[in-house]
């Protein structure tokens, strides 16, 4: 009589075989030829969340969604019919909490002594975590392949084991051409041996290496890459591989260089723009000034004419009436003097205005500046004596002759002398110097030891009509006229406070080409 193989096994709970099977983490079950559970271990009962006893006699249809159950049962029917074992099939099912689990299923047929199939035996192993890990790895693999960055994986000796398609795109070498070779095939020759040695030592010591490298493609062209090399360790913490991730930096470098260039260009343009702007501003100011001058000039000529005619009448009239005065009337005489002075003053103002605003025609002759300075001193000797000013002359002999308008330059000297004299109200020293400066230009200096010019006035000094003198003494055109006369001569007039006190006015006659030719 064939012995029921189940009876061998089914010796009841708690007995030897049962407890062994219950100890297994894998699910273990036996079904009859109708696919009904005949035996289950505690793992499967636990999985299906039912007491073991309840499962006996049930089929998959009672436990799983029908479509799935039909699949299983079809499979089992096939197994029972053919006797062919089903080994290590991966199945994905939902557990009673609806969580998806992966199972590795093996099913074999059970035969009696006569070889008749009497049932099947199944073992399910939960491989969910395994599967998830597998899935992870697969994803990672896909990522490496798909990555836009070129990736090389070498072994610990530096031999290439794997490259991704991006590597081929970057370097031109296919995977076949580099696997088994050393990455030094990419060497460009742009780095010295010390560079590569340092790279190797860094990663060999387990550290990450980062840097820019210039490499050579298969076609010989050079490119720059940013590379990070990371050592990979095994569970024993030994370095087994290196992963190098590359980024083509050629474009970035070029863009960076372009940007720097653009920045430099921009900075330069900006400077040029500023300069142009300053020039334009200055030109505009000069134009406005010239226009003003023209208007003032025309105005001045008209005013001069209109004002001086009545002044002429006054002068003539005064002269006549004065002659008819009875003698010995000092007050009346004094009054006439005052009136005469007033006419002179009015005329002086008109003259200065005319002088300042009319275009000047220079009458140029060769002159010795020392002599001009000396002559001009004569013109102010009355004022000098009146205010008890001491004169110091420091004249250079044999100065090269300057082509100047004698009268105009004397006008400048007289103006500067008068300024100096007026600055020394209580007396003082007027120093007049002629010399040649370091560039060989002829210079005249007029210095006083008065109180100096207040800082607030320094800027306005040369402005027409700016005067610090009391009303009636200066019109404020003196320095402006003097400066413009010098400018007309191609020279310069500067006025500055001296550190030791007082003021020095400096007239510079710049060298002309003609003069340079004369020899010195």
């Amino acid at each position: 009589m064939s012995r029921d193989p189940f009876s061998m096994l089914l010796t009841g709970p708690g007995t030897g075989v049962q407890s062994l099977l219950d100890a297994l983490p894998d699910q273990f079950y036996i079904k009859d030829t109708h696919c009904r559970f005949v035996f289950v271990n505690s793992a499967i009962a636990h999985f299906l969340n039912r007491p073991a006893a309840e499962l006996i006699g049930k089929t998959d249809r009672d436990l799983f969604p029908h479509r799935l159950a039909d699949e299983f049962m079809a499979e089992e029917k096939e197994l029972l019919a053919s006797g062919r074992p089903l080994v290590n099939r991966e199945v994905c099912i939902a557990d009673p909490t609806d969580k998806l689990r992966w199972e590795l299923t093996t099913k074999i047929v059970l035969r009696d002594d006569g070889g008749q199939i009497v049932g099947l035996l199944g073992i399910n192993r939960d491989i969910t975590e395994h599967k998830q890990a597998e899935e992870q790895l697969r994803l990672q693999g896909e990522a490496l392949v798909a990555a836009a960055n070129a990736i090389i994986i070498t072994d610990s000796a530096g031999v290439v084991r794997w490259v991704n398609p991006a590597f081929t795109k970057l370097t031109g070498y296919t995977a076949d051409e580099v696997i088994g070779a050393n990455p030094r095939i990419l060497k460009s020759g742009q780095h010295d041996p010390a560079f590569y040695r340092q790279m190797w030592e860094t990663i060999k010591s387990g550290q990450v290496w980062r840097g820019d490298v210039v490499n050579k493609r298969k076609d010989g062209s050079l490119y720059t890459e940013e590379m990070i090399i990371t050592p990979v360790r095994n569970v024993g913490h030994e370095i087994t591989h290196f992963i190098a991730i590359k980024q083509d930096a050629t474009e970035r470098k070029r863009a960076q260089e372009q940007l720097q260039q653009l920045n430099a260009d921009l900075a330069r343009s900006q400077l040029e723009l500023l300069e142009t702007y300053e020039n334009l501003k200055r030109a505009q100011a000069e134009l406005i000034q010239a226009e003003k001058m023209e208007i003032v000039g025309r105005l001045a000529a008209g005013v001069a004419h209109e004002v001086r005619n009545p002044l002429a009448i006054l002068a003539m009239g005064l002269g006549y009436v004065e002659g008819n005065l009875p003698p010995n009337q000092p007050t009346t005489t004094a009054v006439f003097e005052t009136m005469r002075d007033a006419i002179v003053r009015a005329d002086a103002i008109i003259c200065e205005l005319l002088d300042f605003s009319s275009p000047r025609v220079l009458n140029l002759t060769d002159q010795d500046v020392t002599r001009l300075a000396d002559r001009s001193l004569l013109l102010v000797q009355h004022e000098v004596r009146r205010r008890k000013i001491e004169i110091v002359r420091e004249f250079a002999p044999d100065l090269p002759l300057q082509r100047v308008d004698r009268i105009r330059i004397e006008q400048v000297f007289v103006n500067l002398f008068m300024n100096a004299i007026h600055a020394m109200a209580e007396g003082g020293r007027l120093t007049v110097r002629t010399l040649r400066d370091a560039t060989g230009a002829v210079v005249a200096e007029i210095c006083d030891n008065g109180p100096g010019i207040p800082v607030a006035h320094l800027e306005k000094m040369f402005t027409p009509f700016f005067t610090t003198k009391p009303v009636g003494i200066g019109t404020g055109l003196g320095l402006a006229v003097a400066k413009s006369i010098l400018a007309q001569h191609g020279g310069e007039l500067t006025v500055a406070n001296q550190p030791a006190g007082g003021v020095c006015a400096r007239i510079i006659f710049h060298k002309t080409d003609k003069e340079a030719g004369h020899g010195t």
């Binding site: 000529a301 001069a304 004419h305 004002v307 001086r308 005619n309 002044l311 002429a312 009448i313 006054l314 002068a315 003539m316 009239g317 005064l318 002269g319 006549y320 002659g323 005469r340 006419i343 005329d347 003259c351 005319l354 002088d355 009458n363 308008d405 009268i407 105009r408 006008q411």
Partner: protein
């Protein structure tokens, strides 16, 4: 000595009048005034001056034109002095108080100075 005959040509009558008063007061001059420059030639022919004083800027004709007209006719060698409001004394100094040989004097001018200049031009002072 006979008074010198001075012809004064200036559109400003007040001025010419005062010149006449001042010059004739000295007893040494006889003055004829012309306020319309177009009448200058006729006046000169009538008065036969020994020196002519001319303003420069006048409506219609300037002093230069008037003098040119006089010179073009019988008054070729008549001494002349321009008396002008538009030149500065400084400007005149630059030109030694004359332009193209014609003496200038700037307005306003004191009678004494004017007289001195006239006598200089006439050849004595």
């Amino acid at each position: 000595m006979e008074p010198r005959r001075v012809l004064v040509i200036d559109d400003e009558a007040t001025f010419t009048n005062l010149v006449k008063l001042n010059l004739e007061k000295t007893g040494r001059f006889a003055v004829r005034e012309v306020n319309n420059p177009t009448e200058a030639l006729a006046a000169a022919r009538e008065f036969r001056p020994q020196v002519v004083l001319l303003d420069v800027i006048m409506p219609g004709r300037d002093g230069g034109q008037v003098l040119a007209e006089l010179r073009a006719h019988e008054f070729t060698y008549l001494p002349a002095i321009f008396v002008t409001a538009t030149m500065t004394q400084h400007g005149l100094q630059q030109r030694d108080d004359q332009i193209d040989g014609v003496p200038f004097i700037a307005k306003p001018v004191e009678p004494k100075k004017l007289i001195k200049r006239i006598e200089e031009v006439l050849g004595y002072s």
